[in-house]
């Protein structure tokens, strides 16, 4: 890799991911890199809930549709935020295990840098095992940037 040409940001709809998207937009502008946004629908959790009888089949399908609608909405918001700074965005929706889908997408598409939001506070050992962004950070072979410091990120984006 001679330069960073493709930046991938995980979009989840959370506040953390919003600031990750601002930082990714800033980096894409600075490095003149292609910017990609990906939203992964957590299919594993949907299947677990069906297996546990907490969801019925019709309900699982309904939530899956809701999550697809949310994905479209959040990716559209991301695109709009990027376009305000004249940065075009490519958007993808995937389904599966969140961290695994992001890692696989990044590897398959020769992404140079992955940007994620600040990690959730670790309250327990289980957080490390189950938190998808934590697992992505540990398992990715592609460099990962964690977008901390909201004030700085907001300023960098606004000054573009």
């Amino acid at each position: 890799m001679n330069k960073i040409e493709k930046i991938l940001v995980g979009i989840t709809g959370s506040e953390h991911s919003y600031y990750a998207s601002l930082y990714a937009i800033y980096l894409a502008s600075l490095l003149k890199a292609e910017l990609i946004g990906i939203f992964v629908i957590n299919e594993k959790s949907l299947d677990e809930l069906l297996k546990a009888n907490i969801f019925i089949t019709e309900e699982k399908a309904g939530y899956e549709q809701d999550m697809e609608n949310d994905a479209l909405s959040y990716l559209t918001q991301f695109e709009s935020t990027a376009m305000k700074k004249n940065i075009p965005v490519v958007k993808f929706i995937r389904k599966g295990v969140v961290h695994r889908e992001i890692i696989n997408f990044a590897e398959e598409n020769h992404v140079d840098l992955v940007v994620i939001g600040e990690l959730n506070k670790i309250i327990s050992l289980k957080d490390i095992a189950y938190d998808e962004m934590e697992r992505l950070l540990r398992e990715s072979k592609i460099p990962v940037v964690v977008a901390n410091n909201r004030e700085m990120i907001t300023m960098l984006y606004q000054n573009l």
């Binding site: 989840t12 009888n53 969801f55 939530y63």
Partner: protein, 152 residues
């Protein structure tokens, strides 16, 4: 996500009095309303019962997970109830429910809602934890049990 992030100890009731589904849901809804977690009791009960009409959330082995999307909450909200005698929740295994997790989510937050339900499913899996919760005599004790689960 930890359930402790969305659970207020004042929204845990260790002595559910009702023996039927509607009554137990009403008790937990009243608790949430009293603690200003929901804006409209009737809406919550209607939304939860609408979901129950599609299929009981009495998932078996003494557990009930009534849940609904409702405009009566602005964020994920959880209440836990324990019934010593058992509630007739028309569970899939025919057994009475002794532990209830009432989970409410605002519309358009499908992802976090699914995540919270998954957390509940994981919490009730390890051997012994259901018995501990069922035998707890205070909300503080239930908080301690859940905290110990997360730290194990």
């Amino acid at each position: 996500m930890s359930l402790l992030e969305i659970l207020d100890k004042n929204c845990i009731k260790t002595d559910i009095q009702s023996l039927d589904k509607l009554g137990s849901i009403q008790e937990l809804t009243e608790l949430l309303f009293k603690n200003k977690k929901i804006s409209d009791k009737s809406q919550v009960i209607n939304d939860v019962l609408k979901r129950e009409a599609k299929g009981s959330t009495g998932i078996g082995k003494g557990i009930g997970v009534p849940h609904a999307k409702t405009a009566a909450v602005s964020k994920l909200t959880l209440a836990i109830g324990v019934s010593r005698e058992g509630v007739d929740f028309t569970s899939i295994d025919g057994k009475y429910v002794h532990i209830l997790f009432l989970l409410l989510a605002p519309p358009h937050s499908a992802g976090p809602h699914v995540e919270a339900l998954s957390e509940i499913a994981r919490l009730i899996t390890p051997p012994g934890i259901k018995e501990k919760i069922k035998n707890a005599s205070s909300s503080e004790e239930i908080i301690t049990i859940i905290t110990e689960y997360y730290n194990s």
